[in-house]
Symmetry: C2
């Protein structure tokens, strides 16, 4: 398989990976976990925009199916990233449907969904998914950040950040310094796990040389 | 194509159709539109359970993709049926995600989603989709029923019937006689359209004999 040729053998230059996104910012964010580390010498990560179906179901199910489908469209291992916003009073909903709900209802509309409930707690979840080849079993790296849904405060480019106040803070994601946010965010935590996976993979490769 | 062989030629017995469902009640309901009419001599409809992906997106998009996928699994034209429950204050949501929302939140939980809004109006939508073969363009038959979301009243086997009160009535779907409900329901209206389509198709076939 092409993907195995380009990523498997030792001593043949960096391992190539493709991050499935049309969003250069997401690629940059991903690359930042390698900056100034040895990982940068072991991996070459590029991005590719692929129009993939969004399935209904649990976030883990959706992520696995998506990255497996993505792996068919590239000649290297594929990486995808998905975010859910889960309201505890709504048993985890809107969850993986958060993009559609945000688009249709806006931030205040999301907050309104909880009007009937005292419990405004929620968690944000990010799943990075990795699939070596279309025949491989996908691996998931799940990061969670607990918090509370509040009336919108602050302004940044990220959709629902103004209504999410992480646990232990009195600021919303939108009011936080980006660096501080990345340290505690769902995405930051998922990336940390992914980084550990990449380090282990690189070490294994070095040892086999 | 196999599906065209079994459904296209005139004078070769009834046209075979497959309704994609594991639910015999849904098949019976579908067959009831033919009962006592000439249609019963023109069509033979059976059911088949196929495990199909549920996509995210607009109801029409989901229905088209699903029936096209379904057509790959049968040797006759395929029929699928999907229902949405659309809250006007929520810009049509939960819409096609209603099954998941009902499962997780229950009837009272669905009603609670509108706690922040004066506007409790909603519409139920049923789409019957028909696809001649995997290469054909699907056809949709859309039935809508307007109404209001109320606190649960009445009890029947259909999921959200106790919280849907159709416009012009003071009873919920769950409190109505089934026959009366079918006359005005989203499903009844979609079936009416489908019936007209089947009649036109049968007439065309008779003329070509």
């Amino acid at each position: 398989m092409e993907s195995q040729q380009s990523s498997g053998a030792a001593g043949e230059g960096p391992i190539e990976l493709t991050f499935i996104t049309g969003n250069k910012k997401k690629l940059e964010e991903f690359l930042s976990i390698m900056e100034g580390t040895e990982l940068a010498t072991h991996y070459k990560v590029t991005n590719k925009e692929v129009n993939l179906d969004e399935l209904q179901g649990d976030a883990e199910f959706i992520a696995k199916r998506k990255v497996k489908e993505a792996a068919k469209h590239v000649s290297t291992p594929a990486i995808t990233e998905d975010v859910s916003l889960c309201f505890n009073a709504l048993k985890g909903l809107p969850g993986p449907y958060i993009k559609c709900f945000l688009d249709k209802l806006g931030r205040q509309g999301l907050h309104n969904l909880l009007a009937a409930y005292e419990d405004k707690t929620a968690y944000a979840q990010c799943i990075y998914a990795y699939c070596e080849s279309p025949d491989s079993e996908p691996q998931l790296f799940v990061g969670k950040c607990e918090g509370t849904i509040v009336a919108p405060r602050g302004e940044n480019m990220f959709g629902w950040d103004p209504i999410f106040q992480p646990k232990g803070y009195d600021t919303t994601f939108a009011e936080m310094d980006l660096e501080e946010k990345n340290k505690i965010s769902h995405r930051g935590k998922a990336l940390e796990q992914f980084k550990a996976f990449l380090e282990a993979k690189a070490n294994k490769r070095v040892k086999s040389e």
